[in-house]
């Protein structure tokens, strides 16, 4: 009789423990489901971001495409939107108690999203932040100086989405002992006509990523005119360098993902997001052929990277 009772009690305890464990697991699962990553496209570039993020964070995330994000909306604590489209999509649907971190998108695109999406007003800065794809202006100007230590004039073309950077451009140019030269290109302007005098006057031309300028082929004309005038052009992507830019300053998806992982950890630790920032990690790419054509002796890339990292 006693043995039977004892067995009964043991079984009861076992089942209770099992239930507790189950609840805990569910909690863990639930807690694990607190971070949702939404991709603008389910392509390798974005997955590389996710991969780098996961490698740099201890916290598991659930990855969704834009179409699947609604499944995670109820339970996610933090949304990490990779790309401008994902950011815009999540921001439109997010709840106020939820946080959104947009990463891997141009700063101009982020600003535009904030301006156009009313949901951004619901979220505080601690719940809405971003990591930009493009480089800070000062870093780009610093690079200009590094590649042309004797250059005097630094030229650039500002478009509708980047014209607000002019004061910053002028300031940082002067900081690095450049004389800034810029032109503003509107919809009706002929990019060639606007670019030609700027580039002809510049010793170094800085090409800024502006969507409006992209449409006008300003990047192409910039490159063409710069090459014709033997002016080194600093590009903002590896493709630009391949197209002919002497040097390019950019952050790779892996670097963005890495920094995003840090942000995640930060969030998990502090329960709020850091303010929007430019990437801490970046890369340089050089077109040696263009450099030879322009007869420019560029320093070693590591030197330039070190110099740029030092000057943060």
């Amino acid at each position: 009789m006693n043995g039977y009772v004892r067995l009964k009690v043991s079984l009861k305890s076992f089942f209770m423990t099992l239930c507790i464990l189950l609840v805990l697991c569910l909690s863990i699962i639930k807690s694990y489901a607190a971070v949702s990553v939404v991709l603008s496209e389910h392509t390798q570039t974005y997955l590389n971001v996710v991969s780098a993020m996961e490698q740099n964070s201890d916290h598991p995330v659930q990855v969704y495409a834009i179409s699947d994000q609604t499944q995670s909306l109820a339970s996610s604590q933090l949304f990490i939107a990779i790309g401008a489209r994902a950011c815009q999509s999540v921001l439109a649907a997010i709840q106020s108690h939820q946080s959104l971190f947009c990463t891997f998108l141009p700063s101009q695109a982020y600003e535009l999203i904030l301006q156009t999406t009313q949901a951004s007003l619901r979220l505080s800065q601690e719940h809405l932040s971003a990591l930009f794809l493009d480089q800070p202006l000062e870093r780009q100007i610093h690079l200009a100086r590094l590649i042309q230590p004797d250059a005097e004039f630094l030229g650039t073309l500002l478009g509708p989405n980047s014209h607000h950077l002019k004061p910053h451009f002028d300031a940082y140019s002067r900081k690095h002992h450049f004389t800034p030269i810029s032109a503003r290109l509107s919809e009706s302007d002929n990019p060639v006509q606007e670019l030609t005098p700027i580039i002809e006057q510049s010793d170094v031309f800085l090409s800024l990523p502006d969507n409006a300028l992209f449409n006008r082929s300003a990047t192409r004309w910039s490159l063409y005119i710069a090459l014709r005038n033997k002016v080194p052009l600093i590009g903002f992507s590896a493709s630009y360098v391949d197209a002919g830019a002497v040097i390019g300053l950019y952050s790779t998806p892996t670097q963005i993902g890495r920094q995003t992982g840090e942000v995640l950890d930060y969030f998990m630790k502090h329960k709020h997001l850091p303010p929007p920032s430019f990437p801490n990690y970046f890369s340089l790419s050089v077109n040696r052929s263009a450099a030879r054509t322009l007869q420019i002796n560029l320093p070693e890339i590591d030197e330039m990277l070190d110099a740029l990292k030092t000057s943060k």
Binding site: S40, E41, T43, T45, Y46, G83, A84, F104, L105, P106, A109, L133, N190, V192, Q193, T196, P209, F214, N215, R216, S217, A218, T219, R220, L223, Y224, F236, S237, A238, S239, Y240, A243, Y250, P253
Partner: protein, 870 residues
């Protein structure tokens, strides 16, 4: 070159050329058109490509409106002779820059390239687009955003292309022609390489066909043809070898054949010699048999004849006894000789059976008549008791059947001491007809062990039989062989001490003839014979032809009978020795019957007589015809001397060919007496002449005649008159002569001395042939000398001997042959063996050419003839 060869070459050439030519043309055309297309396409591609490049290069110049940017581009392109002009247009298709000023049909240029006149217009838009930042999709821009900022037109002249195309066509044609020529040469070359070996092989085959087996084919470079030529060579070698071997074998075989042929020839020669020897031996045997028959029988005949002559004269009883013994033994010896000769003939298989019609009942009676004296001499009754009515005529060999009966009856008589010998014939009409004869005796019988060898030759029961009864032992053997020759059968049933019965079965057909119907006599006849079977047989014979007949067991009973009779037939036992019983019986009967006809049947071995004019004596056994005649049947004439001379109802025209005068005379008389019309001929030529004048019903042809003999004449006559009946006459016939006669179509032979019965049969046969409705006749002559007189015979003898004497005196021995032939002829007919023998001796002496022998033989002949004349 033959048509076939040229066809093969042409065919090979055609087969090689045609496809290659077609292929060349197709390929040439294809490649030419391809090249032309390529040229055109190259132009198009080049134009398009240049225009695209120009478009890309002129982006900045057109976008900036800077003509100086465009000029170098145009200049560079115009260096290409194909390019006639480079035109730059703005977005509204206004000319920005061009070097030439010819008319530009802008509105027609809607496609990437347009052909107007001899010019190709290549049109490309000038687009400008941003740099594609493919490494970062956030910087990517859609393709549709590339805007058209202008147009470029490249004007290309078609003339160089046309010129080039012409060059291409010309070049292709040249290549095609070259290809064709090379193809032709290659085809010819390879065709020759194929046809030449084949032609070579064909030649080799032809040579092989002609027999040149040493022909060989050359090797070929082509594997298959090489194999073919090797095969042909091998075949030729094999054929050559086989032929050589065959020739050798043929040679060997020919040699062996020649040897065999030589051996066969040698063997043939030997066989021919052996055959000739055998033939000679056969001839010798035949001649021997004939001579023996003559030599043995002739002296015996003389002995028998002279003995009988002596018996006729009155001699003392002892002498009579001696004469009787001589007569008996001579007869016995004659019988033995005849048996031996017959047996020899049978063993030699030379005996031929006749197939003529004969009366079976008469045949039996004749045979019994001959044996009656012997039987009656022993006191044995010889009874003829037919079981059923025999057909009136049968078709067979009466001579041999009589011989069978005679042998069996004589055997029965020999081995019977007392009692009777009964002959019971029976005719079975079934299965084509068969004559069955039973001869039963009450003799000593035959033991079982002897029955096995009963029909073997030279066998008698034991030596005691031979000693007691004598005989050659051939009688039954001869009977057996004759029965077998007739395809019949014989068997014997016997009990020792009781008697024997021989049963002979001979398949003999009846001869269809008009039955001779005897009229019924309205008389009543009483019959008595001490032997009840004789009496019964007589009764059987008479009951159907008389009104009434009755048999009695004694004379007493007969005389006691109340029935009145017209005739009494009385039989006397065989042991009757004198007339006393006859006289006594006569007295008894005459006591009651004063004048009725009496017929006494007496034994045949002695002479009896009664003095009563109404009493007739007949020798036993009495044949039905004798009896009927005695009783008074009209259509049978019966003379006192047992002669019946019937007459032909329709005269037969008979031609007698016989050179011997007496033979001719005799036959003439016979035939004339029978009512025939007779013509005569003495030679074969005369026969032919007389047949030409008038075809006779029958020819009786002597075989041996001068000028043309009977066989030759018969041959000629049979050619012109194949249906003419010819009967051969000869004293003696050998199997060879018989064969010769058969070959001429003569199967009937009448031996001399002429057998009247045979002559009768032959005449009946001729009658039947003439008209089957004619009744049969029966010629019966027992005494041929009745047809001629003694004086005639004597005169003939004198004539012949005088002629011979004359020839002897003049030493004309060769001429004597004719006379000797005549003498031999009629001496044979008249049974004068001594004259016949003497004439034959003289004939042999003349052949020997010895004068002394000739004269000796002549004197002997003269003595014999003188004796005859006396």
């Amino acid at each position: 070159m033959t048509i076939t060869q040229s066809s093969l070459s042409s065919r090979v050439l055609f087969l090689s050329l045609a496809p290659m030519l077609v292929l060349t043309l197709i390929l040439g055309f294809y490649f030419t058109s391809t090249k032309l297309d390529d040229s055109r396409n190259a132009l198009i591609d080049k134009g398009t490509e240049l225009t695209r490049l120009l478009s890309a290069a002129s982006v900045f110049g057109i976008f900036s409106g800077n003509v100086n940017e465009l000029n170098p581009l145009s200049t560079q392109l115009l260096k290409d002779p194909m390019i006639s002009d480079v035109i730059f247009l703005d977005v509204d298709k206004n000319v920005v820059f061009r070097t030439e000023d010819q008319e530009l049909p802008i509105d027609l240029l809607t496609e990437e390239f347009t052909i107007i006149d001899d010019y190709w217009y290549f049109l490309q838009p000038v687009r400008v687009g941003p740099i594609q930042f493919s490494d970062n999709p956030e910087y990517a821009i859609a393709d549709t955003q590339r805007e058209i900022i202008g147009w470029v037109i490249l004007l290309v002249s078609a003339k160089p292309m046309i010129k080039r195309q012409n060059h291409i066509i010309l070049g292709s044609l040249q290549i095609i022609m070259i290809g064709f020529v090379i193809t032709l040469m290659l085809a010819k070359f390879f065709g020759r390489r194929i046809t030449e070996p084949i032609i070579g092989l064909t030649e080799v085959i032809k040579r092989l066909q002609r027999g040149e087996l040493n022909a060989r084919a050359r090797n070929s470079a082509t594997l298959e043809l090489n194999m073919l030529s090797s095969g042909i060579n091998q075949l030729a070698a094999n054929v050559q070898l086989s032929r050589r071997e065959a020739e050798l074998r043929i040679e060997k075989a020919t040699k062996a054949l020649s040897r065999s042929l030589h051996d066969i020839e040698t063997t043939n020669l030997e066989l021919i010699k052996a055959r000739e020897k055998a033939d000679d031996a056969n001839h010798a045997k035949d001649a021997f048999l004939a001579r023996m028959s003559h030599e043995l029988r002739t002296p015996l005949t003389s002995v028998i004849g002279f003995t009988q002559m002596l018996k006729l004269n009155n001699r003392p009883e002892e002498t009579q006894n001696y004469l009787r013994i001589i007569d008996q033994t001579s007869q016995t010896l004659l019988t033995i000789i005849d048996d031996i000769l017959d047996f020899t003939r049978l063993e030699s298989d030379v005996m031929r059976l006749e197939k003529i019609s004969f009366s079976p009942s008469e045949l039996f009676y004749k045979a019994l008549e001959m044996q009656a004296p012997t039987a009656h001499g022993k006191g044995l009754e010889l009874i003829y008791n037919p079981i059923n009515a025999l057909p009136p005529y049968l078709k067979g060999d009466p001579t041999r059947i009589r011989q069978i009966i005679t042998n069996l009856v004589s055997n029965a008589i020999k081995f019977t001491e007392q009692g009777e010998v009964i002959i019971s014939p029976y005719y079975d009409h079934k299965n084509g007809g068969a004559l069955k004869i039973s001869i039963r005796d009450t003799g000593i019988g035959i033991s079982e062990e002897y029955k096995q060898s009963l029909f073997s030759s030279f066998t008698q029961a034991d030596s005691s039989i031979s000693r007691r009864f004598g005989g050659s032992g051939l009688g039954l053997a001869i009977v057996n062989r004759l029965v077998n020759l007739m395809q019949g059968s014989i068997c014997v049933e016997s009990n020792e001490g009781i008697g024997s019965e021989f049963i002979v079965n001979l398949p003999i057909q009846t001869h269809v003839y008009r039955d001779e119907l005897l009229e019924m006599l309205p008389i009543s006849v009483a019959i008595y014979d001490p032997h009840p079977k004789v009496s019964s047989a007589l009764h059987s014979q008479l009951q159907n032809v008389t009104d009434y007949s009755k048999e009695f067991t004694s004379i007493k009973d007969l005389l006691k009978s109340k029935k009145s009779f017209n005739c009494i037939v009385l039989g006397f036992p065989p042991k009757l020795t004198n007339d006393r019983l006859l006289q006594m019986s006569l007295r008894q009967i005459r006591h009651k019957y004063k004048s009725i006809k009496l017929i006494f049947m007496v034994p045949s071995d002695r002479k009896f007589s009664v003095r009563d004019k109404n009493t007739q004596l007949l020798s036993k056994p009495v044949s039905p015809s004798k009896l009927y005649s005695a009783l008074g049947f009209r259509n049978i004439q019966y003379t006192e001397e047992n002669q019946i001379i019937p007459r032909l109802h329709t005269p037969l025209d008979i031609l007698v060919a016989e050179d011997n005068k007496y033979n001719r005379l005799l036959i003439n008389r016979m035939l004339t007496e029978a009512g025939a019309t007779v013509r005569n001929a003495e030679t074969g030529l005369e026969v032919i002449e007389k047949v030409k004048d008038c075809t006779p019903d029958l020819i009786m042809m002597d075989i041996n005649m001068p000028d043309m003999d009977g066989i030759q004449a018969s041959k000629l006559l049979k050619k012109t008159h194949p249906g003419l009946e010819i009967i051969a006459l000869t004293a003696n016939i050998s199997p060879r002569e018989r064969e010769a006669l058969n070959a001429t179509g003569i199967f009937k032979v009448l031996l001399k001395p002429i057998n009247i019965d045979k002559l009768s049969d032959l005449l009946n046969s001729a009658l039947a042939k003439k008209d089957s409705r004619l009744p049969k006749i029966e010629i019966r002559f027992t005494e041929t000398r009745q047809l001629t007189t003694i004086s005639e015979l004597k005169n003939e003898l004198i004539d012949q001997i005088n002629e011979i004497e004359a020839c002897m005196k003049t030493r004309s021995f060769k001429q004597i042959d004719k006379n000797l032939h005549q003498l031999k002829g009629f001496s044979g007919i008249f049974e004068k063996p001594e004259i016949e023998h003497s004439a034959a001796s003289l004939s042999d002496a003349i052949k020997s050419d010895d004068i002394k022998t000739i004269w000796k033989a002549y004197y002997r002949l003269k003595r014999v003839v003188d004796l005859e004349e006396a």
